[in-house]
Symmetry: C2
Subunit: 337 residues, 2 copies
C-alpha cells in the first residue's frame, strides 16, 4: 500500500521532511517497507500544491530553493478538508508554527484530518498541549492514529522511548533541560557574558526569536511539560497552571556565586507524581556539579525519567533543528504506516 | 484476544517478569489493552507447569518464594515443541542463561517457537548474537515477530529507541559503556582499590560471577556489540572477530596517571561505519573529563548513537538487574501483541 502524505506547513521543518523523504525514498522502502507519495503541500507563504498520484519532490524542493514559493506551480484552492479530499491523503504531517493559546491553525488541521480517518503526526506543540485528549479520542473514533514525537526534544525520540520502550512501567518523575535557547544562554553566561550578550548571540544563531519571551520566561518548556504530563502521567494540566519562573532574573553574578558553591544554574522542567501529590514546574535550579544535568551545555536537551522498574534513565540529544524535527515527523509517519 | 505467554527460563529475570505481570495485570489491560494468561513456565531447576487456560501466578510466585521450585504442582513432560502445543502459547518470553558459543538452550527454544508462528522475545544474548538473521527470516516466514530489548542495556530501551524511534536515520557510529561490572570495578579502582579488591566487591554485589572472565575480558560487551552491529548496522560480525581488550591489565596506577592527565579509564564498546571502513571494538580508552561517558560511574550503562539527522543522542540507564530485565521482556510482549 502506498502511503499518501499531506504536509501542512512548509517552513524549515516541513522542507526538511521533504528533503529527507526525497533523499531516503529507496532506503525507506527497502528497510521499512514504507512506500509513499507526497500528495499535498500547503503553506501560508509558499502556496498550495496537490496531486493524488504524487507531487514531484525534486521540483518542489527546487521551487523552495530558488523562489521560496510554489508560485510557479499550479495552485489548488479550497478549505483544508477539501484539499485533503483532493489529495486523497492517508496521513498528515502537521508542521505549522506553535500558537500556545489558540493552537491554530494546527488544531483545525488535526481535527479535520482525524475526522476523515487520516492519521496525523505533528511538531506543533499548541494543539497537543491544548487538546491531546480530544484529538486522541477523535483518532480512536475514526480508526486513525495520532503521534507527536517532534513536540518535545525535536527528533530525539523521547516520546517513543517512554510510551513504547517503557510500556508497562509507571512513570514517577521526570526532570530535565527542555529548552535549548535558555541552556545556551546560561552556558554563555557561565563564561562571563551578560544576559543581553547571551541573548544577542542566541538570536544571531537562530535559537531565540526577536521576541524571546517564549523561551526566557519558560513558556516553551512549560508547554512541553503540559504535553508530557498528559502523555506520560495521564494528567491534563494547563500550561498557565504550571509553576513557572524563567531565566530573566539570572545574572552572571548569580551563576558565579553558585559555581563557587559547587553548583550550576539550569532551567529545570519537571513533573513529580507521588504520595505527596502532583507537581509540574519550570524553574531555575542550582544543580550540583556531580549531577548528570550539570554537564548538559549549549543548546542540548536532556531528561531523566524515573519509573518503578527501570530506576533512572536519561536521554540526551538535540532539542531543536530543522533536520532533527523533520526526522521526528518521519519516525511517526513510518510508525503509523 | 488473550495473549498466551510461555516463559522458558524462570531464574531471576523470568521470576521478575512473572511478578510484574501479576502486579500490573489491571494496568496492562486498561492502559495497553494487553490481556494475557501465562500458560507455560519451564525451568531446568524449578520444573515445568502448563495450563492452556492460564496458570495461577500468585501460586507460582508462592512456590518460587517458599520452595524455589514448582515440585508441589503437577508437572508436564515433553519436548519444548510439545510443551508449546500443550500450552497453546501465542508468545514466548525466553530468559535462559546466555551461552555465547552454542546459544543453547535458547536457540532451540526460539527456533521451535518461531517455526510454530509463536512470536518471541528474549533476554538471551547467545542466540541473537549467533543467529539473528536466521531467526528473523524464520519469524517472517511464519508470520511471527522477534524482539530482544533485554539483550543490550537490560530494560533501558535502547533497541526500541534506535530501531523505531530513529526509523529513517542512518546510524553512523555508536560508542558506550555496556558492561556494568567492569565499570563498577573501574569506579572502585579510581577510588584507590586494587583490581582484586574491586573484583571481590563486584562479586559480593552479584555483579560479577565466580568466573569473571566474561565481564573482565570484554566478552559480554563484545557479544552486545555483535548484536548491535546486526540490528543497527545490518552487518553480521562474529563475537570472536571483534577487536577486544578487557580490563585485566588495568591497574590503579594506570588510572591515577590518566586522571592526572585529565582522563578517566573506561571500557568502551563501539562500532564505526564510515567511508574509512567498518570497525567494531571493546577496548579500554582514556576519556577526557569533559566527555559525557567520563561521568558514567558504578554499574550504569550509557551509549551515544550518532546518526545522519539527529547528531549525537545519548541514552544512560541501568544495564542489568532482575526487574529491569524482566521489564524488557514485558515491553516486547506488549509490542508483539
Amino acid at each position: 500500500m502506498i502511503n499518501k502524505i499531506a504536509l501542512a506547513g512548509c517552513g524549515n521543518v516541513g522542507t526538511a521532511l521533504l528533503e529527507i523523504l526525497h533523499e531516503k525514498r529507496t532506503v525507506l522502502e527497502d528497510t521499512y517497507g514504507f512506500k509513499f507519495e507526497v500528495t499535498l503541500v500547503t503553506d501560508l507563504m509558499k502556496g498550495t500544491v496537490a496531486n493524488p498520484d504524487g507531487l514531484d519532490l525534486g521540483e518542489l524542493l527546487r521551487c523552495i530553493r530558488e523562489d521560496r514559493s510554489f508560485a510557479k506551480l499550479p495552485q489548488k484552492n479550497g478549505t483544508f478538508a477539501e484539499l485533503l479530499d483532493i489529495s486523497q491523503a492517508t496521513m498528515l504531517a502537521e508542521a505549522t508554527p506553535t500558537d500556545r493559546v489558540t493552537g491554530e491553525p494546527g488544531l483545525t488541521h488535526l481535527r479535520t484530518a482525524l475526522t476523515k480517518g487520516v492519521s496525523v503526526t505533528t511538531t506543533n506543540k499548541g494543539p497537543i498541549s491544548l487538546a491531546y485528549e480530544e484529538l486522541k479520542e477523535l483518532a480512536k473514533a475514526n480508526g486513525a492514529k495520532i503521534r507527536c514525537e517532534g513536540t518535545v526534544m525535536s527528533g530525539t525520540p523521547l516520546i517513543e522511548m517512554v510510551v513504547r520502550g517503557m510500556a508497562g512501567c509507571t512513570v514517577q518523575k521526570i526532570e530535565g533541560i527542555l529548552n535549548g535557547t535558555t541552556n545556551f544562554m546560561l552556558t554563555r553566561m557561565e563564561e562571563g557574558k551578560t544576559y543581553a550578550e547571551a541573548l544577542e548571540e542566541a538570536q544571531a544563531k537562530g535559537y531565540a526569536e526577536a521576541d524571546p519571551s517564549g523561551d526566557v520566561e519558560g513558556w516553551d518548556a512549560a508547554v512541553k511539560v503540559s504535553i508530557m504530563s498528559e502523555i506520560f502521567f495521564g494528567k491534563k494540566i494547563d500550561t498557565s497552571d504550571i509553576e513557572r519562573i524563567g531565566i530573566t532574573e539570572i545574572t552572571p553574578e548569580k551563576i558565579k556565586s553558585a559555581k563557587d558553591a559547587g553548583f550550576k544554574v539550569k532551567l529545570i522542567a519537571g513533573i513529580e507524581d507521588s504520595a505527596d501529590g502532583f507537581r509540574a514546574y519550570v524553574v531555575p535550579k542550582d544543580i550540583p556539579f556531580s549531577h548528570p544535568l550539570a554537564t548538559i551545555n549549549e543548546a542540548t536537551n536532556a531528561i531523566t525519567i524515573t519509573t518503578d522498574y527501570l530506576g533512572d534513565v536519561t536521554l540526551t540529544g538535540p532539542g531543536a533543528g530543522r533536520k532533527e524535527t523533520g526526522q521526528a515527523l518521519l519516525t511517526d509517519l513510518i510508525a503509523m504506516a
